[in-house]
Amino acid sequence: MYPFIYRRPKSIADAVKLFEAGEDASYISGGHTLLPTLKARLAAPTDMIDLAALPEMKGIEETDGGILIRGGTVHADVASSPLVQAKLPVLAGLAGSIGDRHVRHRGTIGGSVANNDPAADYPSAVLGLNATVITDRRRIAADDYFTGLYETCRENGEIVTGVEFPIPLSAGYAKFRNLASRYSLAATFVVRTEAGVRVAVTGAYNRGVSRPTHFEQALDADFSPEALDTLEIDPEDMLSDPAATAAYRANLVKTLARRAVARQGVVQTFK
């Protein structure tokens, strides 16, 4: 790692001030993406501002809009939350499927949503459920928030302080893991709401988490795995790497979407 100055803010407002005062500052939460990045010398922040210990960043609560999970909440706490398990069990299951046990003790929802790794799990739930990303300065609809690979509409220094998830009629998540990296080669989050079906795909699209809207339209008309039979995902839109070609991922997205439709209410992990 390149050297940096570690800073411990007293509040979210204090953290933003420290960020603005730093030459090339970075926030750290669980650090489970950032620290490996720094070890590989892919980034060289001058100031490391630690959000992990801020009480304002912790907690899960019921709101009029659904469930609010604050940004510093670790995956293990979402997975074991009685509230999330009761109201949105697929989200609890998704959180419990991230990384491994020790990673889930440190990694946070805010870090995952801020980083927008194209293979991360949380972005598919945030986009699929049409959640609201809450920052220190505004509320952002999921459809507007994710803008590309590792890209979001966050401004420089803007902190994801929480995510508010509406409660759907039902939801299902099906993922296929790369056994080496444990990230998804492809994963689909399929949601039924009063306003219609939403499908969000992570791990596969070369523009990051995305909605195949033709799948949504077909499922709106007929919510069954067979409704997707005649539809295809264009391999041109897929990531391609030594673990999985674009054509393989395109097929996987369709297969996993069918399985998530067939088994709503659960998380299915294939490996």
Partner: protein
């Protein structure tokens, strides 16, 4: 430089370290507690697993400064009063190790799993929960056996 203070294996400690010091570097280099191993340094292998306030974490992916004031347990502090911890004893009895390099992390992970797990625990669940700890000697069968034996004996009531 930064002064970082915490409790390690029940003893308060304080050291001046570089701001970017990882927890595993603090333990191994500043405190000389070399039982916590560095295998991959990329958050995959679990050889560096320790407990932060009783919860398992990979110490290669935590800044020392981030655990200021917290209570850390390493493999050196797991046993009490000169006695092996039941998980250490079970790894010996079940032959849950070969070369031993991953063993401190496996034992710290297994001890935390058994202490915090609620309800019944079966082989499949142990394998799922232990997937963050890699053994290159392919010794998983006996590792799982050791963890299940401690769970069966203690029903999760062992302090770790």
């Amino acid at each position: 430089m930064l002064t970082v203070s915490m409790t390690v294996n029940g003893e308060p400690v304080s050291r001046d370290v570089e701001d970017s010091t990882l927890l595993v570097e603090y333990l191994r280099e500043a405190l000389g507690l070399t039982g916590t191993h560095v295998g991959c340094d990329t958050t995959q292998c679990g050889c560096c697993t320790i407990h932060i306030d009783g919860i398992s974490s990979k110490s290669c992916t935590v800044l020392a400064a981030q655990v200021e004031g917290r209570s850390i347990t390493t493999i050196e502090g797991l046993g009490k009063d000169g006695q092996l911890h039941p998980m250490q004893e079970a790894f010996r009895t079940c032959h849950g190790l070969q070369c031993g390099f991953c063993t401190p992390g496996q034992i710290m992970a297994g001890a935390e799993l058994v202490r915090t797990w609620e309800g019944p625990l079966d082989e499949h669940q142990v394998r799922e929960e232990m997937e963050g700890n890699l053994c290159r000697c392919t010794g998983y069968h006996n590792i799982v056996k050791a963890i299940l034996s401690v769970h069966a004996e203690t029903r999760g009531k062992v302090d770790a």
